[in-house]
Amino acid sequence: LKLVIGIVRPEKANDVLEALYRAEVRGVSMSRVQGHGGELDRVETYRGTTVQMGLSEKVRFEVAVSDEFVQPTVDALCDGARTGEVGDGKIFVVPLEQAVRIRTGESAEAAVTPVAKR
């Protein structure tokens, strides 16, 4: 059981969703986050006040998957989010202690397997 976290460009979020769908990964959360990676800062000016925007908008995907789904999920995130420019984002895979489906109380693998699969 793993949690795959992908932090990607907002404009690539739709492509990522499409890639995940094609990889038959069904359970996804996403949120808007702000972050800083290796990219150059944007400089913006507001009425004479010049600022360096240290944080840029990103979208964070969180996908809890069973072990055999880790690689397809990571591949889908890479395919969907890559532009080749600095700032494409990161993927983190972390071990997951426990997962529970609230509706049924199912836990572990059963909790992250889509209902239609069984």
């Binding site: 800062d41 913006e44 240290g54």
Partner: protein
């Protein structure tokens, strides 16, 4: 000696001119709400650029080409740089020539801004400004001369009260050409590209309607019967267009949409623009009810095509202006306008005069704009790069964002006296 200045007329025309200028900013708000949030400022800025550029080109050259002399195709150069435009009235007018020039200038400005709706979210800001300057002279001034300045359309009897020819059909069919030359947005047809703020759209539409009372109500060029008729019709036609829109929305989707309502207001105002001072209030209501139909279906149909005419300038202005121009030919009434009757009142010739304008104007606007943009495109790129388009026009061309949180923003001090501004760490 021409008729004397009438102070009442002058007072109203001063106010009307200011109302029409406000419409361009209202349009900016309307358009800004319809695009994605990353392009809010750029969209608004295209309208503001239209004010800056068209006001200058109009004063320097456009006004002269539109309103100097009775040439069939184009005016003269007698008023270049506003020479000979002073406090004396123009021709039979009762307001200062200078004020007439400014009033007509605000029409040129909003027409240039309207075309921006076809190319938002991907056209380079610099290229748009170059295009705006050339278009305001080569297309707008020519059409304005034909319809208002004594050119061949007006001479052969076409009635156009407040700009169905130069403003509405001129912008609508130019917008189609611009959308074709510049090309669709990268994500068009692949992703849902939704309006980011419906309230901006509604407020913008409301302010446009308000300003339109100056646009139509001022086109009688004084506080006179024609202006009053156009003013009242500007109340009635959009209201009727709204009701038609509500009904169509209800039938098709079972819900009355807010952005649909905002669109209906614009369509109604455009419908009555050419006809304002020529048709009875009763027929103005009919125009609103019936004229909204082709525009509604135009807007439903366009997104199914490959043509990314993004904010539907063609349907809302081109088709509505076309409908309004033709409608005059049917229901103009001498008893209301003192000028001419339409087909229903015994003069079929008037309808053919209107039909001629409705064919020639779109053709000129489309072809001239198509060639003009191709020429501009040969000198400089018209489009932003894919990378910039993904990032958003606001950051790329203006270095600002519409909805900035300030989180993660590091203040950059001016190089020279930066040290003086940093608090002493003690």
């Amino acid at each position: 000696m021409s008729p004397a200045i009438d102070t009442g007329d002058t007072a109203w025309m001063l106010a009307a001119t200011a109302l029409v200028l406000m419409m361009t900013f209202a349009l900016g708000l309307f358009y800004a709400g319809l695009v994605r949030s990353k392009n809010t400022l750029n969209t608004f800025m295209m309208c503001i650029a239209a004010v800056a550029i068209a006001a200058v080109t109009w004063a320097l050259l456009g006004y002269s080409l539109a309103f100097d002399g009775e040439g069939a195709l184009i005016g003269g150069l007698g008023h270049v740089g506003l020479s000979g435009v002073g406090f004396e009235p123009r021709g039979e007018g009762t307001i200062p020539h200078l004020l007439f020039m400014a009033f007509q200038g605000t029409f040129c400005i909003i027409t240039v801004a309207l075309i921006a709706g076809a190319v938002v979210e991907r056209m380079r800001f610099g290229a748009f400004m170059v295009f705006a300057a050339l278009w305001s002279v080569l297309v707008y001034a020519v059409l304005a001369h034909w319809a208002f300045g004594g050119g061949w359309l007006a001479a052969q009897g076409t009635l156009d009260f407040a700009g169905g020819v130069p403003v509405e059909m001129g912008s609508g069919f130019s917008a189609l050409a611009a959308a074709l030359v510049v090309g669709a947005r990268k994500d068009y047809g692949r992703q849902a590209l939704l309006p980011h703020n419906a309230v901006y759209v509604l407020v913008g539409a409301g302010l446009l309607w308000f300003g339109w009372f100056g646009f139509n109500g001022g086109s009688g060029l004084g506080a006179n019967d024609a202006s009053v008729l156009a003013f009242v019709n500007t109340l009635l036609t959009p209201a009727c267009a709204l009701i038609t829109w509500f009904a169509l929305d209800l039938i098709r989707g079972r819900k009355v949409t807010a952005i649909g309502a905002a669109t209906a207001i614009i369509v109604g105002c455009v419908l009555i623009t050419p006809a304002g001072g020529f048709i009875s209030p009763g027929w103005a209501m009919v125009l609103g009810f019936v004229g909204a139909l082709p525009c509604y279906f135009g807007i439903q149909y366009r997104p199914r095509t490959r043509v990314d005419e993004t904010l539907d300038v063609l349907a809302a202005h081109g088709i509505a202006g076309f409908t309004g121009i033709l409608f005059i030919g049917l229901v103009a009434q001498f008893s209301w306008n003192g000028i001419a009757d339409g087909l229903f009142y015994g003069d079929a010739g008037q309808f053919w005069s209107q039909a001629l304008a409705a064919v020639v104007t779109p053709a000129y606007a489309f072809i001239a704009t198509f060639i003009l943009l191709k020429l501009v495109g040969a000198v400089m790129p018209l489009r932003a790069s894919e990378h910039d388009e993904a990032l958003g026009m606001d950051v790329v061309y203006h270095g600002e964002e519409a909805y900035v949180t300030g989180e993660g923003a590091i203040l950059v001090m001016p190089e020279d006296d930066g040290k003086a501004l940093v608090a002493d760490p003690g």
